[in-house]
Amino acid sequence: MAKVKVYVTLKPTLLDAQGRVVMTALENLGHTNVENVRIGKYIEVEVADNGRNINEQMDEICRNLLSNPVIENYRYEVTE
């Protein structure tokens, strides 16, 4: 069994409206040195071993469903 932590983030070129709002709130709280906030998704996936290369399978999963390559980047960490 592999435990995989997947991080999906908006591409840097896209405006992250949510992140912008949170940053403004942080400024209002006095954290005026916060320079940028980007909000993404964190997904945990548990995968049973079926002989297939886990990285290959996770790339397929991330490309097809967990992220939209048009607007998002993904990365993941495989832990046992």
């Binding site: 908006l10 709002v21 939209n68 607007i71």
Partner: protein
């Protein structure tokens, strides 16, 4: 022309689309359940608005893998007509039947109001019944209608005349003020390269009778019927 209206779990404009086709356009129409892989002989498939699969993960991301989408892909590949409205547009982008993607409105709010739309390319199956310079009054109702794509794709769809509708003011002037959601170049609707697949965020099926505020949406739906002959 026979229409098919796809029903996903969470679709909520399926009945409006069905009504517009049957009662206003007087064309045969059937519902198509998302688990079916048969389009029941539809010439034009409508992917209606709503919140398919609760908008989980991303709008349209899960609906894209419904069994019916396999049939829609094949229909589109053979040149069959497909139009995605609102959530349907999001699904078509996720399915790569249309270029680009739809992200959260820049204001992050759900916007439900009438907007004005300028038809851009009148030589398409979806716009040829529209008039040059006309501002169509059609409602929007979405939180993720902000059209985006990479600069190369934008250049390509603009050069190919694939942008069919832009947000404008009531005189037909495209401006930043008339852009409700932050869409690139005020884009409200696009087509694929062949023109047989269209997506638009505004709801033409909600603007088919004057008594309900506007019947400007009829021009879009009537266009495809007459285009196909």
């Amino acid at each position: 022309m026979k229409f098919g209206v796809v029903v996903f779990p969470g679709s909520n404009c399926d009945q409006d689309a069905y009504y517009a086709v049957r009662d206003v356009l007087k064309q045969p129409v059937e519902y198509i359940w998302h688990q079916d892989n048969d389009l029941k002989g539809s010439d034009c498939v409508i992917l209606p608005g709503g919140f398919s699969y609760g908008d989980y993960l991303r709008t349209g991301a899960v609906a894209r893998f419904s069994p019916v989408m396999e049939a829609v892909q094949q229909h589109a590949a053979k040149g069959g007509y497909v139009i995605g409205i609102c959530n349907g547009f999001q699904i078509l982008c996720e399915a790569h039947l249309l270029p680009g993607a739809l992200v959260a409105n820049t204001g992050l709010k759900f916007i439900c109001k009438y907007v004005n739309l300028r038809p851009e390319n009148l030589n398409t199956p979806w716009t040829h019944k529209c008039n040059e310079g006309q501002a169509l009054r059609i409602p929007i109702a979405h939180q993720g209608g902000n059209y985006t794509c990479d600069p190369e794709t934008l250049q390509q769809i603009e050069d190919n005349g694939q942008v069919i509708l832009r947000y404008c003011d009531e005189r037909g002037v495209v401006s930043a003020e008339a852009n409700p959601n932050g869409s690139l170049n005020n884009i409200a609707g696009i087509i694929n390269e062949k023109g047989n697949v269209a997506g638009m965020m505004p709801h033409p099926e909600r603007a088919v009778e004057k008594i309900l505020g506007s019947d400007d949406g009829v021009a879009i739906l009537r266009s495809v019927i007459e285009w196909a002959g």
